[in-house]
Assembly symmetry: C2
Homo-oligomer: 242 residues x 2
């Protein structure tokens, strides 16, 4: 309920399309619509009390965001995420988050740095208590601050786009209290590096942070959660999307 595009945020309130788009996005990310499930225009339209037009336009946006796939004259289907996709996402993110942290070191404002410190401090409390809900929210916020601080709209939008995948992946993986504590410690180190003006250090730490997050995921049985898909992955290397 927090990380929308600014332009969308406005659209959402004033247009049906925006509301539909947002509602569907939320439902897909939260797993209410399962992977490969078909979304029918009329059904969703009726459910939300709107006609097909805004629903269709929302579909087009969701497709470009990679959340659904539209097959012409057939239907719209919720896209599946394979183990290979998750791996690729974290590989790409590890590079871009590092770049972001490096730029943020140069461009961060005192206010943003202040919020970053507060975030880490507060998270250390929740981490020790094992409050996973709050940890997730604080983690999102931590990265979001860095996205803003890097002072690159391009990079910010890119990383923000990846974030939706992260949400979906989280639904599939179990985040442990131990990882929460470790993650918080990594956040703290990144924050300290930025505070000290050590751009290269911040970059390295942020990259490692992503690698660790991924490793933890694999260790905790990411592959077990993707039912059957990992088999196809090992056999062919390619992941057939249907």
């Amino acid at each position: 309920m927090s990380n929308y595009d600014l332009k969308q945020e406005v659209t959402d309130k004033y247009s049906l399309r925006g509301r539909v788009f947002h509602k569907l996005r939320e439902d897909i990310l939260n797993g209410r619509y399962k992977e490969h499930e078909e979304l029918k225009e009329v059904a969703i339209g009726e459910e939300l009390g709107v006609s097909r037009t805004p629903v269709r336009e929302a579909f087009r946006q969701l497709e470009l965001e990679g959340l659904i796939q539209i097959v012409p004259n057939k239907g719209a289907y919720v896209t599946g995420i394979t183990a290979k996709d998750v791996k690729d996402i974290y590989m790409i993110r590890s590079s871009l988050e590092g770049m972001c942290a490096r730029l943020a070191t140069e461009n961060i404002t005192p206010e943003q740095l202040e919020e970053l410190e507060e975030n880490v401090y507060l998270a250390s409390f929740h981490a020790s208590k094992g409050h996973m809900e709050q940890m997730t929210e604080l983690d999102n916020r931590f990265h979001h601050i860095l996205y803003e601080a890097c002072d690159s709209k391009m990079l910010e939008n890119l990383l923000q786009d990846f974030h939706q995948y992260v949400i979906r992946i989280r639904k599939k993986t179990l985040s442990t209290k131990e990882r929460g504590i470790a993650s918080n410690e990594e956040h703290r180190q990144i924050m300290e590096a930025i505070k000290a003006g050590d751009a290269r250090g911040a970059e390295r730490l942020a990259t490692c942070h992503m690698v660790n997050a991924y490793d933890n995921m694999v260790k905790n049985g990411l592959y077990d959660i993707f039912n059957g898909e990992e088999a196809a992955l090992r056999n062919g290397g390619k992941h057939g999307k249907n």
Copy 2:
């Protein structure tokens, strides 16, 4: 006329929306519609002989691709690219193209490697002759082969998306014969590294290739072409999009 998304390629032939989407995209990239120009639904619909519905849906897609910006209840405007954007794009690309080249080294097929060699060989000819048109086409193809060869749909799509920006930027910058020759030499080195199975070398070379391309752009007066925008950039650092 060559580098579309595969899924779109099919849609284009069978739906008006796809055709409209593609036509507008092409026109924006080719500079037929200037930056900040307003696109009106009815006008475009009449021009292409379709109703507003497919035009509207195409607009939604173009917005997500970053080519236009839709202001609710007002209109659709072609987005502008600032000098800062160009810089950021090449920074991000330098990292991702490097990653792509590294992965491609591990996963490239003999056929793809063959085409890569052929591409470099053919390009060396056109480079020496100063055939810029062909050079552009071969450059696009060279990178496209690597995108496919990296065996990561995520990375491939990402880099492919960036490509549209590259096309727009090219319209604003002058590519010289000298740069063509240098670029071809860099392509050759990347290809050789991949052929030799030197993943790290390929990564480093591909990253350098992007940095060089950007430096060349700046040297040849990228800033002069962005009329007035560079002034705002230097003054404030932030680039106001309106």
